[in-house]
Symmetry: C2
Subunit: 303 residues, 2 copies
């Protein structure tokens, strides 16, 4: 039996002080069973993003350790940056990985939210974990940053899901949520005309009546028109299906795809789907991949 | 630092007696650090194939444990079967996996050969480990089975690479070698005409002047013409390149590819190559795959 795995992608409000950042991330690294997948600090926004993964209890322990370290190391009252921060730990999304469902991630978000609430964070659940429609989107929750949250705090529509009855000015609020894994996939066109990329993006994205679970924007990058996509559910729209839609829409405008790129991590299934699609494979899953058998999950090793 | 990994695919001469088979495979399972990837017994050929993998010393220990168990459990003098066996442990190929080179596998084959020779096996090195050209192919070494080996034993051309000065009639000889990982990839055509598959196979395989590191045969399988391929070096010919060659050769004969299948295990790189090829990806390697970061090699976990 495979233990479900989760990813956490916390954003915390410190991107400049290396020693504080180090102590905060070290708090997560010290949690056994947690694997760090990525880290990025942004001094301009004075903000850092840590990505880590593991089984539910391990990710929960990592998130709690991180929140406590943020509360101990940072003080929102003296923090500044371009990003509209609302707390020392600003956003804490949980993503279901192998073996986990979105419902599992919602449960994990609630467990984390309850725990963070118990030591002073005002917690708003968002995304799939949201308890009400008007609080499902992150921008809505943190509109106006800390000051905005503070001004809405007594409004029953904005009573936090977990946490103290008053907003702590040093710790602030945190949005804790559940969301799908995002595959960031970009296609570069053989034109420098950004309008072509924008038109393609409008046609293929879900909001324009295109492919389900696809968000897309057109940009100019390095002198090339780029269609930048987020695929939020590979079961609904796989990478090759998105690419073929871009190729088709671009061809209607006299353009073609020169190259593509996957930004960040992609699940193995994204690559397997692509091979199945183009090779016409009768079947191909992770069990057919040598490395999955060599390593696999720690729990599945006793084969 | 990643520790190089190896696969061993020993064939031993027992495919009927379940308790003997169980004791032999159990000897390998008992070796720590060895992961069993597959097992297949064939009663008609009275022969079994075990596939296992691990780091060099672990695979070596597994191979030695297997050889000792074969010598203890089996007796070639009382063994029979359709396959032209020459020893209780008949063939022992080592395959370089992640982080390992063919030279590493040749060294491992020599270590295993020397050890097996020291406890009674007459060892012929074959494949990339062969010490002379006329002994590089497996069929040449085991021509005539045990009796053939016995008749050639005093010929200086057939002096074993390792082992005793006389051939043990109970243990026999073993071919110990190093060979590349084989990807078995089949394409089914939209015709029942096996001749079409045979013609395509002749055109695309290396021996017919086609693609390097590709072996191919045409068969009729389930009423469909099948082009059955072994890809022995994905750096020379990747899966999508082989498929496109089949598609092109089939099209010249008025046929097309209906579906494909990967038989057994394929390395992750085979799938990544396919995605790169068809998506036009600027780059994609194992580091971009979420699961590779989640699990990876045990030694690389301390990230």
């Amino acid at each position: 039996v495979l233990a479900p795995l989760f990813e956490a992608v916390p954003n915390f409000s410190e991107g400049r002080d290396a020693s504080k950042i180090s102590r905060i991330t070290q708090a997560v690294r010290a949690v056994s069973g947690v694997r760090i997948l990525g880290f990025h600090s942004d001094p301009d926004h004075n903000r850092s993003v840590l990505t880590f993964a593991g089984q539910e209890d391990r990710v929960l322990a990592g998130a709690i350790a991180l929140a406590k370290a943020c509360a101990a190391e940072l003080d929102l009252a003296s923090q500044s940056g371009e990003h509209p921060r609302m707390g020392v730990l600003d956003v804490l999304p949980f993503v279901p990985l192998e073996g986990a469902t979105m419902n599992d991630a919602v449960r994990l978000a609630n467990r984390a939210g309850e725990s963070l609430g118990s030591f002073g964070f005002s917690v708003y659940l968002y995304g799939s974990a949201a308890t009400t429609q008007h609080r499902s989107s992150l921008p809505d929750i943190r509109r106006g940053g800390y000051e905005g949250v503070a001004s809405r705090f007594r409004d029953p529509m904005w009573k936090p899901d977990y946490g103290p009855s008053t907003l702590d000015p040093h710790i602030g609020a945190v949005a804790v949520g559940a969301r799908p894994f995002l595959v960031a996939f970009n296609a570069y066109l053989d034109t420098d005309d950004v309008e072509v990329a924008r038109t393609v993006a409008r046609q293929i994205r879900e909001s324009g009546g295109g492919l389900p679970a696809v968000r897309a924007l057109g940009f100019g990058v390095g002198g090339k028109a780029q269609v930048s996509m987020n695929l939020t559910d590979l079961e609904q729209t796989a990478v090759p299906v998105a690419l073929e839609a871009v190729r088709s829409a671009a061809a209607d405008l006299g353009a073609s795809v020169e190259s593509t790129e996957l930004v960040g991590l992609a699940p193995l299934e994204a690559v397997l789907q692509t091979a199945r699609y183009y090779l016409g494979l009768r079947e191909l899953d992770a069990h057919h991949v040598l490395e999955s058998n060599l390593y696999g999950q720690p729990d599945s090793r006793s084969s």
